[in-house]
Symmetry: D2
Subunit: 343 residues, 4 copies
Amino acid sequence: MNFASDNAQPACPEIRAAVEAAAEGPAMPYGNDPWTERAVAAVRDTFAAPHAEVRLVATGTAANALGLSLLTPPYGAVYCHPEAHVYEDECAAPEFFTGGAKLIPLPDRAGKVAADDLAALLAVPQRGVHHAPHAALTLTQATEYGLVYGVDEVATLAGLCHDHGLAVHMDGARFANAVAALGCAPADITWRAGVDVLSLGASKNGAWACEAVVVFDPTKAPGLEHRRKRAGHLLSKGRFLGAQMAAYLEDGLWLRNAAHANAMAARLSAGLAALPGASLVHPTQANEVFIDLPAPVVDGLEARGFVFYRWHGPGTTLLRLVASHGTLETDVAAFLDAARALA
Amino acid sequence: MNFASDNAQPACPEIRAAVEAAAEGPAMPYGNDPWTERAVAAVRDTFAAPHAEVRLVATGTAANALGLSLLTPPYGAVYCHPEAHVYEDECAAPEFFTGGAKLIPLPDRAGKVAADDLAALLAVPQRGVHHAPHAALTLTQATEYGLVYGVDEVATLAGLCHDHGLAVHMDGARFANAVAALGCAPADITWRAGVDVLSLGASKNGAWACEAVVVFDPTKAPGLEHRRKRAGHLLSKGRFLGAQMAAYLEDGLWLRNAAHANAMAARLSAGLAALPGASLVHPTQANEVFIDLPAPVVDGLEARGFVFYRWHGPGTTLLRLVASHGTLETDVAAFLDAARALA
Amino acid sequence: MNFASDNAQPACPEIRAAVEAAAEGPAMPYGNDPWTERAVAAVRDTFAAPHAEVRLVATGTAANALGLSLLTPPYGAVYCHPEAHVYEDECAAPEFFTGGAKLIPLPDRAGKVAADDLAALLAVPQRGVHHAPHAALTLTQATEYGLVYGVDEVATLAGLCHDHGLAVHMDGARFANAVAALGCAPADITWRAGVDVLSLGASKNGAWACEAVVVFDPTKAPGLEHRRKRAGHLLSKGRFLGAQMAAYLEDGLWLRNAAHANAMAARLSAGLAALPGASLVHPTQANEVFIDLPAPVVDGLEARGFVFYRWHGPGTTLLRLVASHGTLETDVAAFLDAARALA
Amino acid sequence: MNFASDNAQPACPEIRAAVEAAAEGPAMPYGNDPWTERAVAAVRDTFAAPHAEVRLVATGTAANALGLSLLTPPYGAVYCHPEAHVYEDECAAPEFFTGGAKLIPLPDRAGKVAADDLAALLAVPQRGVHHAPHAALTLTQATEYGLVYGVDEVATLAGLCHDHGLAVHMDGARFANAVAALGCAPADITWRAGVDVLSLGASKNGAWACEAVVVFDPTKAPGLEHRRKRAGHLLSKGRFLGAQMAAYLEDGLWLRNAAHANAMAARLSAGLAALPGASLVHPTQANEVFIDLPAPVVDGLEARGFVFYRWHGPGTTLLRLVASHGTLETDVAAFLDAARALA
């Protein structure tokens, strides 16, 4: 049983069926197909954003880097969490797509960025042309630690940004998990709270390979179409992406999958936290559990074939456990039973 | 019936079945899965190149741009045909991935680049640091005009390159069509003839979205893995790419699909060339037909619902007709019947 | 005697005196000094352009590449003469500064670009996202062949550009020579004729190292200040640049130097063209002479120690002779005497 | 009197005389002149490095960014002090020149980077392709806070780097001040201690605008010549740079100027530190003084026309005072007298 990553699952049955159904007859290539049209409409409907510019790509790194490239000049400063995926896990993709912008980490505040730190940074006058000028803030929702920014948190951070001329990007690789946790309208936690561009993930939550770049303010999108093409992210058979995203959003699949993953993570979290010697490092708000367990428990689980990350490398005991659309209740029960037996 | 592009077809049944079969159980993400391993082995076997570095991506533009980025410094000159896809149809992707290298067109010689022109260019001493230094040649096989470079042609061009320190890249978006036409071993028309890096296409010939960057000389590949990642082309669910490429190559599907497409193009070409007023602009060597037809024939075909490109824009009569794995004999017959009736 | 390049001369006495005069007392660095202020004012006065944005740099390549980076997105197409300095002699600097834009050569028409060719190119509809979109035209004034575009020529070319949404850049490394030849107001051949950004050269015409990027439409300049800095072209001791440009423009030195250079070139051209077997390849309109001379004459001149370029490499007989502010009448006379003796 | 920056002074008389002396007769452009040859020889002699590759540029930002571009792939990680000039004051120039590498700050340890922090970072295994791979460390000598790394410190840091495959760059904008303070051989604190590439500054210490990129291991230099050109940093009149650097190094001017500046800073530091309420923030080891003074003293000094930076912005009382080759003993005495009167 694999708790290492929400990428370890194959696509879910509904997405696979949608792709298969799209394999019918000729269609114009490069996104000029009916499935892509449906997908764009579904994104706009989901976000109550009829004028949003929407482009589909195959990876979250591409979505993030393209989105950021719309929000900063090549010499701009983009602020982020020090463990943000864009900073730590994308091998300098944002720097590449932006043409050399600087990603600058804000302090880590229990897994999030804090408005106080951003406010303090923005209060310091910039040193003229010597400093990379403020360009954007990027937030991850849900965060790399499975935390969820509330509507007020996003609005406060975005408000500071807009007051100082910065744009706001949201890395929503696990956006569905955040919305399922918050129970709010997707618009409330994005454009209504001040988010300018969203990377809307599907790959971690049931798709084969599909993410949307969503530009809520279309005046910020003029370069998106060309930037996607020159990055090699315009698929010739656009229907492959379109069919996935349409199926993901049209009838609520995205939130059903995410709610299931969140529930499985909550169950894991509660069960493990009750063990002697266990220490939950972050509250479990979405589909990831960060918990420190006694070394014999961790070793034993590994010996029994359970797959997960030791977050700080071999021999360490802080675990990241990720639940997904494909995590079975029986998987969770088996894991908890084994852990209890080892504790 | 759609003759506009080999991208207009969905994936072929064998590829779709392979992807579906791969949707089973967890697998480690980011290409660390058994399907990717099989795909790499299949590429190496196909090319009798056991040490080749192979990476899978979802688009031909990504494969070309990544491949070129291994062969030129950011200030290098890459020579190409003036209508090469990398020059005309990739929205400056090679410039982006290489960090600013110059693509410089050689003269068009009936749809190909000619060794004489390359030799003449290389015979001129470079003007020191002012000029972008020679870095690479890129050839398209089969070409944008459906022509096929013979083994001797590639060897002569590549020999000139290597004598002058240039590397050789091959854009093989339609490589299968070229090999099916030549009937040679894949190795003979690539590394044995001097090709350093190949973009091996599958998307136009049966896959959903899959191409391989094949680096025959692994000493030229050290940056490939990181360059793919930072371009957002490392898919999290690597099995989606691996399953396609494995199915494409393992049992000859790639050549069966290509041979069929070539045969359909040949039939179209022969039938249309026999019409009064028809003028074949290039010989039909792979799966594309470039033919000038009388305006009433063209208009009539369009009016009957046949889909194809007027190559020089609306109102012009030079047609590009592309056959693919999915082109039916009955499609070809219907097209030819209609053309004959109109002629 | 050196006719190889207008870069072979040291700075002229007036410029040297101005730099020495500026070496007095402390001044705020990074362009916040009175000499830079004077230089900016002098540029604005010279061009009757009180709102122009002006930045000084040390090289023409920097000026050109910075100027172009304001006029194209990183995926745009910039059209130029096939032997333009930006295309042939700047080692891909424009590609670097623009982040990967494509420089695309127009046909050579007797050393210039022609409006008919540009019009034909712009009349073809672009192929959507596949093609690098039209962004700008760059003209060289005077050209690499010592030719001068007339006011009407520039206006026609620029008018075509603006009608199709392209911006216009002028490489004015030898702008002074062009204005001295045309006898027009600097404004007439630049912004009044539709030029958006000018590289105004001084280094070839008397300065040590100084060029100005002049943005006539300040709405196009917002990134210029930061782009100059991040390219390492903001000198700490700004007065070194400011003193040169102020001295160059304030009392007409730029036109005196250029008129002298043009006159020396005209004298060379007339004298050489009268020799038997001589063939002037381009009319001599500014400070460069392109002339084919009999091989014995060329060999003899070289043997006598005259320095010049054989334009097509060793052994060829098409010469480029460049006159400058420092070319003496006696140099020209000596050269002509020697040539006549050899003819 | 200006203590704001060592850039506030004009060039020193010796450098000015050398430039004037170079303004004699024609010379081949683009660095093919005798002064540049002398400068390169002088750098090699100074560093006992006869095979070093040396290129001259006009700014420190250019030297740093070019140097780093030789030491990292476009997706590499370059570690630095969080207040390093390359990180804070070059408007993303390193990111630009490297094609998108990441500058990653190490912790600040009293104004330096510490070997323990670097060792800890390098001890963590990298997360495969997701992380920007380790590429280089850059040290500033003397640092932004006027501190000097000892030979052992550099050797320890560089040893760690080389053990883990990282290269070492040194930003030597104030290298002369460091060598004057250390009293060591230039080779001892650079290549013998493990430095691969040095930015050797002259602009802050007497030159108009001149820095050298010094590549001690010439196998790391193959791209330097072209990279300088495409960045617009190859001056046409190379003698302007060559004459400065030759005069700077050939007879010890660089160390005389630096020793004077250091002595003036030491005198300032000692005098101010003795005032009631004064607090020296960093020891004064080179030519910069960082000292906190009572607000009335600071206000009074400003009111009397002394020019300096309040380091943390208007109203703050931590001052940076910079002495230079041009700082007079009478300037220092006047400043100290005024401060004492105000204290």
